[in-house]
């Protein structure tokens, strides 16, 4: 399959990129690593007149440490993130989520900004134009019916990126540029929860950087993912867990503080499971008590998961695996 016709614009600076986005608003798509957009354009899911290639903008790339925390340029590749010593040491949950994304070669291309802005996925959507034409268009593209949801009036395509649950746990903030200037947005406010339009971003917005606050540095964290193959696949369910304790490594009598649990790939948006954070806060955590904490986290995480038949494996299994993965994530930290 070939790509639809478009012009490629290659700005060198953020200012130039914002200007081009404003000039062609509504008829332009940003391409970063290309691993999500290019296959989608081949399937004619996007047919923009202009493609804004931001690979040549140096100021969008790189990881900077400061007293406020860590600032990651949106164009930083996932491979660079998994190798960065400060991320390995202080934000380990992000590294753990990053190394599960697709395959090593795809992580050489894919960017953190791209992973955060990943389009939602569904068996009825991520198909060629010929397939969609013969099997029926859906709400997300060209049609007005959802084939997987009861009633069929709302799009339930699943948000299927691995790094956002880890970033939600870390309290990540986004730096977004637009003709109106710079704004800082908490990551959870980026997601609309609607499958057909998952991101609250205007077509004139450019995601420039992701900030990890210093307050989240050194959290214990783990990410567990369900997929069919051990490599390449998108998640079919994913759970990230982070917390802090006063005594360094988790010990028999440590107390869980600043607990966060986040899930992905089972809803149209990645979600913080606030009830799990609330109920686990202050609970003891160690070899003897991790099992109990894991059960509780799993039960509450699974309650927030609403998977439908948008991907391989049954929704029941994926929901059950959210429970299992949350428990496994906590047990791996005991």
């Amino acid at each position: 399959m070939s790509l639809p016709d478009f012009q490629v614009l290659r700005p060198r600076t953020n200012a130039e990129a914002v200007e081009l986005l404003a000039r062609h608003a509504g008829d332009i798509r940003i391409i970063a690593g290309g691993t999500d957009l290019v296959p989608s354009m081949r399937q004619k899911l996007f047919t923009p007149k202009f493609v804004l290639d931001i690979r040549a903008i140096a100021e969008l790339n790189g990881i900077r440490e400061s007293a406020a925390g860590l600032s990651i340029g949106a164009m930083t590749t996932l491979a660079a993130i998994e190798r960065h010593p400060a991320i390995r040491k202080n934000y380990s949950v992000l590294r753990e989520a990053t190394i599960t994304v697709a395959s090593p070669v795809i992580r050489n291309m894919a960017t953190l900004g791209g992973n955060i802005c990943l389009d939602t996925r569904c068996l009825w959507y991520n198909q060629s134009l010929a397939w969609r034409k013969s099997c029926g268009f859906c709400i997300k593209k060209d049609g007005n019916l959802c084939h997987v949801a009861p009633g069929g009036t709302k799009c339930w395509a699943a948000f299927s990126a691995d790094t956002p649950p880890a970033l939600l746990c870390l309290g990540a903030q986004l730096e977004i540029l637009s003709p109106q200037g710079v704004r800082i947005v908490p990551l959870q406010d980026l997601y609309s929860g609607a499958g057909e339009a998952p991101l609250k971003l205007a077509s004139t917005d450019l995601l420039a950087a992701i900030h990890l606050p210093a307050a989240s540095s050194g959290l214990h964290g783990a990410y567990k993912k369900l997929r069919i193959r051990g490599s390449i696949d998108y998640p079919l369910a994913g759970v990230a867990v982070t917390f802090r304790n006063g005594a360094g490594n988790p010990t028999a009598n440590s107390i869980m503080k600043d607990v966060r649990v986040a899930i992905t790939a089972v809803n149209p948006a990645p979600l913080l499971v606030r009830e799990a954070a609330k109920q686990l806060e202050g609970k003891p955590f160690g070899e003897a008590t991790a099992e109990l904490a894991g059960e509780l986290a799993g039960e509450l995480a699974a309650k927030s998961a609403r998977p439908l038949t948008t991907s391989a494996l049954t929704p029941e299994y994926r929901k059950e695996m959210v429970r299992v993965l949350a428990k496994r994530a906590l047990l791996s930290l005991a």
Partner: protein, 164 residues
């Protein structure tokens, strides 16, 4: 769609190419430059048969726009032979049955070549992790791992990899 003129550096040579702006690097290599070693297979950017190196880093040429690769060093399977003869890795793949139908082999070569440049003596785990980027439906990967280890030994001993 009107064509644009781009400059690509492929296997150490500069090429001036007139192509449409929506041309994938893979199609540019295969159709405009006649370098058909890189293969198109899955068409959804997952299988790795189209893997090339951009500035020494393996990437999927089916997910890159040709116009985006200007100013970078592109290396394809046609560029890995050493002084006109097969590299140790290529010889070992042939000797150990690392290649059967051969369709995925150029992609694997580019992935493994990058692994060995960065990590000349990889652990089994590192080899496995690198191979997880590419799909092969014939070999079951075992022969490839044997071939890669044989190539490493051969490089260390300064001779061609021979099957014992």
């Amino acid at each position: 769609m009107s064509k644009i003129l781009i400059m690509l550096n492929v296997n150490g040579r500069s090429h001036e190419i007139a192509c449409e702006p929506n041309t994938l690097l893979l199609d540019c290599l295969r159709q405009d430059l006649g370098l058909t070693g890189s293969k198109r297979a899955c068409d959804d950017s997952s299988c790795g048969a189209c893997t090339v190196q951009i500035d020494g880093v393996p990437m999927l040429s089916c997910a890159l726009l040709a116009v985006s690769c200007q100013g970078q060093r592109i290396t394809t399977i046609e560029g890995v032979a050493e002084h006109g003869s097969l590299s140790a890795l290529q010889k070992a793949y042939s000797d150990w049955g690392g290649s059967q139908c051969g369709y995925c082999t150029p992609g694997f070569m580019m992935t493994v070549n990058a692994l060995l440049s960065e990590t000349p003596d990889p652990t089994d785990e590192q080899i496995g992790a690198a191979l997880s980027s590419n799909l092969c439906r014939c070999t079951g990967y075992v022969q490839m791992i044997q071939a890669i280890k044989a190539a490493i030994r051969a490089e260390q001993q300064g001779r061609a990899a021979k099957r014992a």
